[in-house]
Each structure stands twice: as structure tokens, then as C-alpha cells.
Symmetry: D2
Subunit: 231 residues, 4 copies
């Protein structure tokens, strides 16, 4: 069974009633509920020692999910180093919504990961532009989300190895919402949907994408990564 660690900043839910109303136990708890039927799931948060991401936890993690939006700067660079190293060594990484600005994602992309945004609660349609991709397994041609925060292009990331979703927004924008990357032996998936006050992670199709993406990102055996002097 794939071992999943869900990392959540877990500040906003404890400080803001509106957020707490949507995610009373934290976004990580809702994400865990989406995955725990067929994955081994644990959670970790910013205020845990070492943010909950000790060497031991990461060594035992196949796929790490990352949610954060208000306190990116508080993540310790040593933990970022550790996450980067584990990804290059094969651990999968799912970066969710505002996690585009997280330190691990920016580190692994090498770009600013900036974008345009507007919090207008308008409709989003998440179109499958790569219907043959396993992350799209079992979806319809698009997923409609009635109330979302808009993210618009340009999105300052490297051209994805594979683009699975492109979002249409009622207000007139588009966004590359499902981006696959490999870095070292690790698979990385950026998935746009999510928000702290819209209940996006209760949506069944979104939960299906999360499960698909975790399974896609799980490490494979591969071949040796041997570096250095060669006789």
C-alpha cells in the first residue's frame, strides 16, 4: 500500500472561523479522508517539531502532499533540503493550489511559480486535455467546480512534461491546472483546485484526481543513480 504523508500548514483553520467552518479538523484531515481507504495515510503540520517531516517520516513516505498558503516562509530550509533530496531519490510530491508558492515547489522548479489570481467565487471548468493520462482515470471530459478562486496565466513554471488539465474560468481566464514533472527519480504533480473557504476537497471528482495522482506519483524501482568519480 502506498504510504502517503499529507503536510498542511494548519494555521488558517485554527485562526479564522470561516475557514474552520469548512475544514474543522484542518485541510489535512479532509485530504486524508479522501485517500485513507486505499492508502496508508499520516499527516504532518507546520507547528510540529521539524514540521513533522523528520528524516524518519520522509524515509517512510512514498508520496507527500503539500498544502500551505500563509506561512510559506516559516518552513525551515533544512526541511526543504530534505524534501528535495527525497523527491530526487524517488518520493512523489503533490503540490496543491496555493502550494505553488511553497519553498519545496519553487526549489524543485527553479522558477518563481508566480501566477495571476482573483478571489471571486466564480465557476471553474477543469478540462482534461490529456485523456490518456492515468491521472484522468475515471473522469468525465471536464470537472465543474461552482465556486473557486481564479488562477490565471502566465504561470511561471517550466513547461510541464505532461499537461493533464487546463482550467476555464467564468471571468475569462485559463490556467494549466494539472502539471506533471519528473525531477531525479521523483514524480511531481501540481494540482490547482483547492481553497480554504470553498469545500473543493469534498468534490468527488477532485478526490478521484487526488487518488489517481498519488498512485501515479508512487516510486518505481528504477536503476541505480550512481554519481562521482568513475574508474
Amino acid at each position: 500500500m502506498v504510504a502517503v504523508t499529507i503536510w498542511n500548514e494548519f494555521r488558517h483553520e485554527r485562526e479564522d472561523d470561516e475557514v474552520a467552518a469548512v475544514y474543522p479538523d484542518g485541510i489535512h484531515a479532509t485530504l486524508a479522508a479522501a485517500l485513507e481507504d486505499d492508502h496508508e495515510v499520516r499527516t504532518a503540520t507546520l507547528d510540529d517539531p521539524e514540521h513533522g517531516l523528520t528524516e524518519e517520516v520522509l524515509d517512510g513516505t512514498d508520496v507527500l502532499l503539500w498544502w500551505g498558503h500563509k506561512a510559506h516562509d516559516e518552513v525551515d530550509d533544512l526541511v526543504v533540503d530534505r524534501v528535495q533530496e527525497r523527491v530526487l531519490d524517488g518520493m512523489g510530491l503533490l503540490v496543491l493550489h496555493s502550494g505553488h508558492y511553497s519553498k519545496p515547489f519553487k526549489r524543485l522548479m527553479g522558477t518563481t511559480c508566480s501566477l495571476q489570481w482573483r478571489e471571486d467565487g466564480a465557476t471553474e471548468r477543469l478540462w482534461v486535455v490529456d485523456p490518456g493520462h492515468p491521472i484522468a482515470d475515471g473522469l468525465d471530459e471536464y470537472v465543474e467546480l461552482p465556486e473557486t478562486e481564479m488562477y490565471g496565466e502566465p504561470f511561471d513554471v517550466p513547461e510541464p512534461d505532461r499537461l493533464v488539465f487546463t482550467s476555464w474560468f467564468e471571468g475569462g481566464e485559463v490556467f494549466r491546472s494539472g502539471c506533471c514533472y519528473r525531477r531525479g527519480s521523483g514524480r511531481i504533480f501540481y494540482f490547482r483546485p483547492g481553497h480554504e473557504t470553498y469545500p473543493i476537497y469534498e468534490n468527488e471528482a477532485v478526490r478521484r484526481v487526488l487518488r489517481n495522482a498519488v498512485d501515479w506519483a508512487a516510486p518505481t524501482e528504477g536503476a541505480p543513480r550512481t554519481f562521482g568519480h568513475r574508474d
Copy 2:
């Protein structure tokens, strides 16, 4: 100066008053007008001998533009062979709008090049998703086209080497509207905008894209392409 040949099916304009009203001299004439200030331009049409694409014409062509939509099947396979060979050898190819279903494009892509469509005359916004690309030179963050035929995903083409534009449609769809490919030594650009009854090719930003794309697709010197037995 880059030598451009504009190929047009040129049937609809001669048979249909509505089309003739928009493009009285044929779509090729309008496209030529967009390019002729800084390119050496000639035109060729389906009903010319060898569709106007003799060996001599193609040998003298740096970049070929292709427009067709009603008579794709009437294009002779020998001419398709010739176009494919010249592209692999370095000639640029711009495939416009309904040209997605043309024989040369399907031949070079290896897929059906199918898509979804609706002729509703609604608004399209052509977002630049790769602002660093030379095909986007001089554009604003998007190009708005007030009345267009919709093309929607999925678009059955190989993942583009580089995606420059993604369209947003008023009716709720998205489309990868500016797709760059290299095949052999040749550069190929698929560009969605265009229609026989909407005056898309009169739009200044669209004309700018056409000029940029021609310059991008022009052959470079390269290195030898030597094949076969090697001593």
C-alpha cells in the same frame, strides 16, 4: 527575405456569397497582405496544376502556410509526400484553423487531429501561456476575438514541443491554440484562429502572430542529416 508560399483550398470563396463577402479575393490574398511587407510571398491553390505545389515551388519555399476546410480529401497524396519531405528537410509549415484536418498535418502528426467544435460566433480569448516565445513578440497578455467558431479539447495531436497559446471560449471550453512542433529539421506551428466568414485575418494581433510564426519557422542552416550504411 523569407520566401513564403500560402496555400489555400480556395473553393468556398468562389461558391458561397457569404464567404466571398469576407474574403473576396480568397483567404490567401488576405494572408498575403498580412505578410508581404517583409516577406517574399506567393500563393498556390487546390485547383492549380499539382495544387500549385510543384517540386520547384516547394524547393523555393522557406515557410508554407496551409488553409483548407472542405476538400481535404482532394489533395493528392504525391503532393502530401512532397510537403512532408520538404518539412523534414527544413521547410517551415504553418497550419491554420480547419487545416488541422489537412492531409499534410495529419501525416506529420501521426494522429487523427480531431477536436470538438461549435459555430456560435461567441468571444474567444487567446491567452499567451508562454510569454518568452518569439511567436508572442509584441502581443499583450491575450488577444480577444469577438466572434469565432469554437474549437474545444481534447485535441488529438502529440503533446506540443511548446505551447504558446491557450484559448478561452465564452461558451465554456478551452483549446491549445498555438502548438509548436519540430519534425526532422522543419518547424511546424498550428494556429487555431481563422474562419471563412469571420474576418479573423484582418485582426492586427492575429497578423502579428502570423508574421512572428513565419519568422520562427524559417529554416536554419543546421548540420547534415546523413542516413544509411556507415563504413
Copy 3:
């Protein structure tokens, strides 16, 4: 269990004693032996009715292997159409060695698929350049093949979506020997090693690659591929 169909031209083995000595039951039989422990395997050959690739056979095939080298032109275009359509619809395709010049591969690539070659029986080292790829599972950093036919660059194929192997040849050449593509919903893997008089398919590491590649190329569920007019 993944349903595999192995297609072999099966002419040379019946006409040439040297070839028959290496592959007495045909190359397809040796390939079948490499796969049949954990796959459901059937075979088909050029001289079977419809080359053994009826609609029914292809509909029941998850992954098709293709070996041919002397009689590519005798493959019926209707069968090529059928293979292309099935690949776009999700069937995996492994193209082996001289199959680079087969009609289905050229059709799906859109290029000549030409290369340089020399039959000198010298050593090849097949380096893993993407150690995180599942096709490299369980391999060492390279596979050494003591006697091979050389294939050299340039290789006239589209830039692979993912390059898994690059070959080093004793005589001074290199070659992109393991190339992954997606076309439509189908996964395509070109794998260089193989020859009719060197017993390449008896090599354990090569057989491991074949098994890995079949598993990688097997169809996933995906999302609908709906085309045409949209209301």
C-alpha cells in the same frame, strides 16, 4: 493479466539457415518465451490472413510488439490503419530494432525514422539515462551486449517524450535506443536492441526491459475522447 500480441514478419527465419539457427521457431517464439510467465501472449505473422491482426485480435490486445526488417512494404495499409487507430485508442506498441522502418511506426511518428547502421558485430553498451523510469526497473547502470549491429544518429524521429536508453558503440557512435512516446491514449516504446543473427533476445537484461516496457505500455482507463460537433 496484460494481453500481448507479438507480431513477426517471420520470413528470414524460414529462408536463411544462419537466422534459423538462432531463432529456429521464429523471433516471435523467443519474444513470447520472455513474456509468457506473467503475460497472456499470442503471436501473429505477416503470412497469416490479415497478417494475423484482425479487428478481433487487435481489440483483444493490450500491447502489440512489432518485429520486421525485410518485408515492411508487404504490410497492408488497411492493417496499418487498424493498428494506428487502436494505438490512438489506448493500445500499447513496442517497436523493436529494424521495426523502426515499419509502416505502423512511420505512420505514428510522421517522420522517415531513418538512421545510420553498420553490421559489424561490435560491442554495444545500453546506458540508462533515465534511472527513474519504470522501463529501467531492476537494471544495472548499463546493459552490455557483446555483438550487435550498430545504429547511429541522427535518428529521424520526433524528440521522444522521454529518453530511457542511449547506446554507446565500440565503433564510435551513439544512438537514442529507448524512446517513449504517447500518441492519442496509446504508449509507444521504440527499443533498439535485437537482430536476426545475434541472440539479443536471449539476454536476461533485454528480456527484463521487454517485460517492463510491456507493463508500462499497457492501457489505463483514462477519460473520454469525445470529438466532433458540441452543442
Copy 4:
């Protein structure tokens, strides 16, 4: 005229007689000689104030070349930030040989950029695997370098957007020696050849590649990169 800044660590040439014998005025002087006929060239070194890469210098640079191998860690992170920012904003970057381990390259790639190496002075053949690429303009099918340091796979970088060269080494290894990337609006080219005691940068074909790569990496106009809140 393209404005080029050549950055050199410039330590080894001042400390080691063998290195000084090959590059008496520093590697930057030899690189400058290869470019100055048709480019506006200046140089900068590690021991200059701000390593010679002030805001003003970088603002006036179209393409930056980077050579370093012994003192990567001494490069100030503020200068690395500045280089990264300028690349994302459009400045070209050529990373040479041991510069694979430089801070700017690792920052922009997001990976370790590790590889295998052996200083054996054996022959390298740099094969053009993408003959249609402008960086290969005017080359033959390969460039032979009689005495080089070997670099071998795996090379821990993201899959290149475009692979132009693959090296064959006499000792049995291969390496992706010419790797193109875009990050933000900037073009990055990693080029393997070079060494402090082999006179690689005196080789005419290598110098041609440097000139081609500088021209390829020069900024284009592009479209706006607007980020942040959108009304």
C-alpha cells in the same frame, strides 16, 4: 549586437602552472576571443566586487556565460538570486563544463546536476542528435575532441526541452552534452566540452557552437509577464 558577459571563477589559472600554460589570461579571455568578432563582450570574475555581476552589468547583459569548477560555494547567494531573476526575465545563460555544479545552474534546474567523471584524456565524439537545431549550424555530423575529461550518465538534470549533442567517450560512456532549457523567458544551454588543462576552447567547431548558442540564447521581445492580483 548581442551583449555577452563571460563569467569565470579565475582561480585555477592564477594558482596552477599547468592551467596557466593553457589559459595564460584566464579561460574568460579565450572564450572572449571566440565571441568578440560579432558580439559585444565583457568579462567578470569571482574576485571582482559582487563577482563582477552587479545589477547594472546584468541589466546590460543579453547572454551570460558561466565557467567555474573549484570555488562554486564562494559565489554569493545574492548574486545567484540576481542571475536567476535576470534569466527568468529573458537573459540567456550558457553553462560550460564543470559549471554544471555552479549555484546558478543548480538553482535553475532544481536538481543536484550530478554526473560521473574520469580525467583520462581520452577521445570524445560530440554527436549532433538534433541536426535541425540552430546551435548545430555549420557543424559536421560530429565534433571530435582528442583529449578530454569524461563525463558520464546519469546526469541529474530535468529532461532537456531539446537535446542537441550526445557525447561518445572512448572509455565506454555516453553523456547528454548539449541540453536546451527555457526557464521563464530565458534560454539556458548546458554545453559539456571544456577543461582547464585541455585546450578545448581553441577548437574551431567548439567555438562555432559557442557563437551559435549565444545567438540562440539572446532574448526576444515576448509578451508581458504580469503576475499577482487581477481585477
